[in-house]
């Protein structure tokens, strides 16, 4: 048994009086891709923000490589080895593509290492090389997503948090980007926590998955078994008509826990 690289235990996170995360626990083994699935408002983004320190949990702990990191500022969490690719890319719009990438390496001093990682990122995303001198705000949505992922890799992180990389992209591009995420994981050994609504794509590359509903984990299993589960198919893989989606709650599932 290996020690998990990330262990989240019973965290509760609030927006003022609103409880967005209601006691979530999960763990990620090193070198794996773990996905967190959930509908709009399930608390996926809040979970990632709590891990990366953008939000503080009221209760519970987040341990990275055995050290507690909850309630630290995001820049310190990042220095510990966690890179966060936020929902909606959030590139620096008036900096060039190259400057954006170099900001990803802000915490590093090893010139050769930075150069190596820059070549690596440009190898995964050749379009960024062509756009190197252009302002990031002028890129297409897909290019911005690639830039956001590339920028996160520039810190040579051991864990990458990816928040809905498929958001607003065409199916072909989603396919490309997920292929690259998988390659980064296999080739670099980078552990990945992937938040998605596109369960089909996420489960196709993940090793393990959690399903979130209104701030709780309602199901967890290996990706392989989740792919076969009836409920998942209904909710996320679009196997049933869309009408039933909003009405069904995870009542039956919840009683399992």
């Amino acid at each position: 048994m290996t020690e998990p690289i990330l262990r989240v235990s019973n965290i509760e996170t609030y927006y003022g009086p609103i409880m967005a995360i209601r006691g979530i626990s999960l763990h990620i083994d090193p070198g794996k891709i773990v996905t967190v699935l959930g509908a709009n408002g399930a608390g996926k983004t809040t979970l990632l923000k709590t891990i990366s320190g953008a939000m503080d949990p009221q209760k519970g702990t987040v341990e990275f490589e055995g050290r507690e990191i909850q309630k630290q500022d995001p820049d310190r969490v990042m220095r510990a080895g966690i890179s966060h690719v936020p929902e909606g890319r959030e590139v620096f719009p008036f900096l060039t593509v190259h400057e954006n990438l170099m900001m990803g390496a802000f915490t590093r001093r090893d010139r050769e290492g930075i150069q190596r990682d820059l070549e690596l990122v440009l190898g995964y995303f050749p379009v960024l090389e062509a756009r190197s001198k252009q302002q990031a705000g002028q890129l297409s949505g897909g290019e911005q997503q690639m830039l956001a992922i590339g920028r996160a890799l520039m810190s040579h992180p051991r864990l990458v948090l990816l928040d809905e990389p498929s958001l607003g992209l065409s199916p072909i591009l989603v396919n490309d980007i997920f292929g690259i995420i998988e390659r980064i994981n296999r080739e670099q050994g980078t552990t990945i926590l992937l938040v998605e609504q596109n369960a089909h794509m996420a489960l196709s590359i993940a090793d393990y998955g959690y399903v979130l509903e209104v701030g709780r984990v309602v199901m967890e299993d290996t990706a392989e078994r989740l792919r076969d589960k009836e409920d998942i198919k209904e909710f996320y893989l679009g196997m049933k008509d869309a009408g039933s989606r909003g009405k069904r709650r995870w009542k039956r599932v919840k009683t399992w826990r």
């Binding site: 995001p74 820049d75 620096f92 719009p93 900001m103 802000f106 920028r151």
Partner: protein, 297 residues
């Protein structure tokens, strides 16, 4: 015609002062979203620092000027670290009230410091106020004083240094990144709170430079910070978020004041800045240099 050019030239030098103070407003606002209404008071403190070093302690002008700028950078850093950081994240209104309070307290405190008081002081500068002829025709001639030349030259120099700093240094680019997207900057490992303090240091340093340059023209007194009331419209004119905008805005207001003071009836000089501001805002609400993309936080 020469008359007009002369007025523009005179207006440019005071415009440079407005531009430097406006630059301080913009730097702080862009990065931290705080409108620092104490910017003029930072300038006042800078001028008093220089006065203390040069007139009271007898240092040379250059050491006094450099000391005032460095001293104010430290002061600005500490002001952010000690006073503003604890209230970070409060509503914008609270932060604005706080900076207005800082300005108010600064004026009172400056009046209490031994040797400063409420009188007006001058500092000795190596620049004469005498006009150097640039161009002479039969009836009149175009002149500029060493004083005005020093203001324009120093402003150009400071702008060039700041430009290079923001453009080419790692921490400068990180400051730009922070002002474009604060949360993303955090995710890059940029220590956002320290960046804020550094921005305050730079703004205070630029304000001090403005104070030192202005001192020979208007004398130093505790109310000289009210020049912020001219610099503020300059910053808005330029789009309040654009650094070149602040400089163009400052120059515009300085020049228009100078022209209004000569061609228009008395009294127009002081409101000219606001009339221009209103006109520009009606025609181009985002200011002369406003960025079309709204920033996200």
């Amino acid at each position: 015609m020469l008359q007009f050019v002369q007025l523009v030239l005179n207006g440019s030098s005071i415009g440079c002062i407005y531009a430097l103070v406006a630059l301080g407003f913009v730097l702080i606002y862009k990065a931290t979203e705080v409108v620092n209404f104490a910017q003029g008071e930072l300038m006042m403190f800078g001028a008093f620092f220089a006065y203390t070093l040069i007139t009271l302690f007898g240092f040379s002008y250059w050491i006094g000027a450099a000391g005032a700028i460095l001293g104010m950078m430290a002061f600005g850093y500490l002001l952010d670290r000690v006073v503003l950081r604890p209230v970070l994240g409060q509503p914008a209104f609270a932060m604005i009230m706080l900076t207005i309070g800082i300005g108010y307290v600064s004026r009172s405190v400056a009046g209490l410091v031994p040797g400063w008081g409420t009188a007006a002081y001058a500092i000795d500068t190596p620049f004469s106020a005498e006009g150097l002829p640039l161009l002479t025709t039969a009836e009149t001639s175009l002149v500029i004083s060493e004083q005005n030349l020093s203001i324009i030259g120093a402003t150009v120099l400071f702008c060039a240094v700041l430009f290079a700093f923001f453009r080419y240094t790692r921490i400068g680019v990180a400051m730009q990144a922070t002002s474009q997207n604060q949360l993303a900057a955090y995710y890059m490992g940029i220590p956002v709170k320290s960046v804020f303090s550094l921005i305050w240091a730079i703004s205070a340093g630029v304000a001090a430079a403005a104070g030192v340059l202005l001192a020979p023209i208007t004398l130093i007194d505790t109310n000289m910070g009210f020049i912020g009331l001219k610099a503020f419209p300059a910053a808005v004119l330029g789009g309040f978020g654009s650094i070149p905008g602040a400089i163009v805005g400052g120059l515009t207001i300085g020049i228009i004041e100078s022209l209004a003071g000569f061609y228009l009836p008395q009294g127009f000089k002081d409101i000219a800045a606001y009339i221009v501001l209103l006109a520009v805002l009606v025609l181009r609400p985002e200011g002369l240099f406003g960025q079309a993309t709204r920033k996200k936080v």
